[in-house]
Symmetry: C2
Subunit: 505 residues, 2 copies
């Protein structure tokens, strides 16, 4: 860095006395605020990752770029905690050969969350540093430059944001409420808990695709702007499309089926799904991410159910193998039992579930859908009886499913459809689809989609030129993340959640 | 299948004489139209893939499910071509021990594109069957059942749809125009060319993510419904959002940058991007798929440029290694030179490009953007001089770039921004971003984003609490697919394209 810039102080004019002191400061080249990095230079400097600062690096001189998580001055010393994502290390600036008292003062006054470049010697410590992830070493700072200065007042404190609710309540310590978090999401996402949640969520997407590509699936891209509401007219957002109106797809349903009719055989997609529902619950968003699967089968839709269930099992296994650190990090703030599942996945029929609920005292009709409380109760009953947090509920009443659901030929009140549940909440809805255009038209008319029949003509027509039997399902990414980790609100697992009341940031 | 159903004929009532003949038909159990598959049974039958029908399987009896691509009756024989995706095989139904004349007639009358289950013996042929992908064997049919019957008149013929334009023109044979294709996209997507295009496109997404995950990137999901136009107010679709208006994101730009400010360091996303541009060109869509990258760097944005260019090179290499069949299939219809690229990727500065264009007789100002014809001309000049179809153009004039572009500190008229080109067309636009909130505000005001400054407050505020220097770029998936394969219209590489005039299917 140009020396002149390096000495520029963060705030306002320097006072004469300070200039005098600076003149006497033997370490004045060793600290300061850097000029904005505009790619002026390509210095030949290696920056070491904090997670790699271990006793193997003891006594090495390293450069680290990190955030100042906390700083604490103590006499002629200043202790900093430097943070990178989920990892942090203690750093010490002490008056001595490398640092002047001015330099210690400078370090102590760096605003929290500022980004700094630090040169230091890695030193083994005698007593483990319990408050840091790097417990066996600390960094003895020789140079420190501010790369990006944070404003002095943070809208929320990161330590408050990772405090367990119960600790906050019992010990009267601060926690951060959800709206404050979401209003200042960029800060909230920096916490170890958020970092872990969204690294794990990235893993879910990766495992989903990895598993399906190994199974021979093809990834498709389906349009989100559509000319007709795909799942009935309600709950759909309208878009001004040049001089006309269009809609936002409530799912890729019709398009993934059209891809099956177009011979892609096994398809998946990951993309946004839009629901104009004025629901303000812990598990509804107006925009969420759908993990969708559709697959031609040979003779029975259970071929597809098994593929989907196995895909989810591979995700659960992959998460437990590859993301144990993240799971434990989240558990520190939100304690939760490990997620349990069986192989093969437990499959219950709807009538069995009804019997279990009735035995538990619930009154329900044969063709009645599950309410949210009954879903959760059923989850507890299943967990007690089968010791699994994941199961399939098969053979839903036809009356409660969309028009494209294949009726059960053995029982006209049943259908070849299924939901899948994690910890008692629905995460997937799916079915064998009607692949016969005549039956499809009948079912659409039966559901009262009379006016829209012309609008879904392209969809119905796609079954007129040979269509294989097929089935599929749609998974909600945020729900899977939430329920796998045992969290309680889907807003915790959406980076920038959208609900009827929230459109920002 | 229930026998009664199996004998049901496709159309209307059976005539008495036919019933009489059927009664005398020794093979009557061996063919027919199956009842709709509603998952009544789980037969223990293995279906063999057509691509696996090779001489290794000679003399085996196999079951195959496929489409009837063509059928041709010839005396007591009927030749069928059976198709699965890009693969097809010849099948023979001949009067003899296994087939009656009624059965041959039945087979000959099955409408094209119907889906059938066929049992047959694999037989080695003496002369290669040039019209099929499986050239060394044919299938001697013993049983044939229609699983899904196609309507008799197809809206387009698959063989016409894969005919090279030039052959159509020279030999006066039919080809299919683009609107007919797109109006009947489900049929058009079944052609070998379309199958190859979209299998390769799935490969692009996979290679993109595979490469980035290996590089330590995290996948993020960004909202598509936003409260303010992210890239200036023009060309944005408006959504009715409960009682208010919202917009469709023109890119994940602001959100991926916010993720950088939230410490995710290296992020990518794949998702829909919306542009309300009334452009009816070969390369504009109103909805396309963006492959987006954003990355914090240490000292110079070229660190990011190198990562992005290497990611694209890994995609090109992966496609040429894993998708050679698909490339050749597309080339049959659309002949094209193999895609060429250098390692490391060629990087030219904008002023060098200007010099090349001026030398070729083009008059252009120093701060003028490249027009489409000049872009293409430059592509040809670069190809001649450097023998590459892929290059980076760096250091664009600041005046032609968005407000969040970092100015070049050495030259106020330049910026730290770049485009990348394939076969002379832009596929990526990117830059170092301004990470200082004060400079960002100044740049936004300079660009006239005065009214909207309040609306992008959350974005600007995300730089107030320490922001690392970062850069990134957005890639158009359909363009990469089109240009890699040397196609000429982006509608060929979007499954269900959206433009100002097309919203269906």
């Amino acid at each position: 860095y140009p020396d002149a810039e390096r000495q520029r102080q963060p705030q306002g004019q320097e006072k004469p006395r300070e200039i005098m002191e600076a003149a006497k400061d033997f370490a004045k080249e060793r600290y300061g605020v850097s000029s904005m990095i505009q790619s002026q230079e390509k210095p030949d400097r290696v920056l070491v990752r904090i997670r790699d600062l271990t006793v193997q690096k003891a006594d090495e001189v390293v450069w680290v770029r990190a955030r100042v998580h906390t700083s604490r001055a103590k006499g002629k010393q200043c202790f900093l905690v430097l943070r990178q994502q989920q990892f942090n290390v203690q750093a010490l600036v002490a008056v001595g050969d490398h640092a002047s008292k001015q330099m210690v003062k400078f370090a102590a006054n760096i605003n929290k969350e500022s980004i700094v470049d630090v040169e230091g010697i890695v030193r083994k410590v005698n007593q483990k540093i319990g408050s840091c992830t790097q417990q066996d070493v600390e960094l003895h700072v020789q140079k420190i430059y501010v790369i990006s200065l944070a404003e002095p007042r943070l809208p929320l404190q990161l330590d408050d944001a990772i405090r367990p609710e119960v600790e906050g309540e019992e010990e009267g310590r601060a926690t951060v409420n959800q709206d404050t978090r979401l209003d200042n999401r960029v800060i909230d996402l920096r916490t170890s808990t958020s970092q872990a949640v969204f690294h794990l969520q990235s893993g879910i997407c990766h495992l989903f695709r990895e598993t399906l590509i190994n199974k021979g699936f093809v990834e498709i891209q389906t349009p989100k702007i559509i000319s007709a509401a795909s799942e009935g007219g309600a709950n759909v957002f309208t878009v001004s499309y040049f001089k006309n109106n269009a809609y936002l797809a409530q799912s890729p349903q019709l398009y993934k089926q059209m891809c099956i009719c177009a011979d892609f055989e096994k398809v998946f997609c990951i993309g946004p799904v839009f629901r104009a529902e004025d629901s303000n619950t812990h598990r509804h968003l107006t925009e969420f991410v759908g993990l969708d699967i559709e697959m031609a089968f040979n003779y029975h839709y259970h071929e597809v159910v098994e593929e989907i269930a196995d895909t989810l099992v591979q995700i659960f296994k992959g998460l437990q193998e590859r993301f144990q650190t993240e799971i434990q990090t989240v558990n520190k703030q939100f304690p939760c039992e490990p997620f349990k599942f069986l192989e093969p996945t437990l499959r219950l029929e709807y009538c069995e579930a009804l019997a279990m609920l009735r035995e538990a005292g619930i009154e329900m009709g044969d063709e009645e859908d599950l309410s949210t409380p009954n879903e959760k109760l059923l989850g507890r009953l299943v967990k007690e009886k089968y010791d699994t947090d994941f199961y399939i509920l098969d053979k839903y009443p036809l009356a409660v499913r969309p028009f494209y659901t294949m009726p059960d030929p053995r029982n006209p009140k049943q259908s070849n459809s299924y939901d899948m549940f994690m910890r008692g909440e629905e995460i997937l809805s799916g079915a064998q689809r009607v692949h016969d255009p005549q039956l499809l038209t009948e079912r659409a008319l039966h559901h009262g989609i009379v006016l829209d029949l012309e609008k879904i003509k392209a969809y119905i027509d796609s079954f007129r030129f040979g269509a294989p039997p097929h089935a599929g399902g749609g998974i909600g990414l945020e729900r899977v993340t939430m329920l796998f980790l045992g969290l309680h609100n889907v807003r915790q697992t959406s980076m920038f959640p959208r609900d009827p009341k929230r459109l920002t940031p």
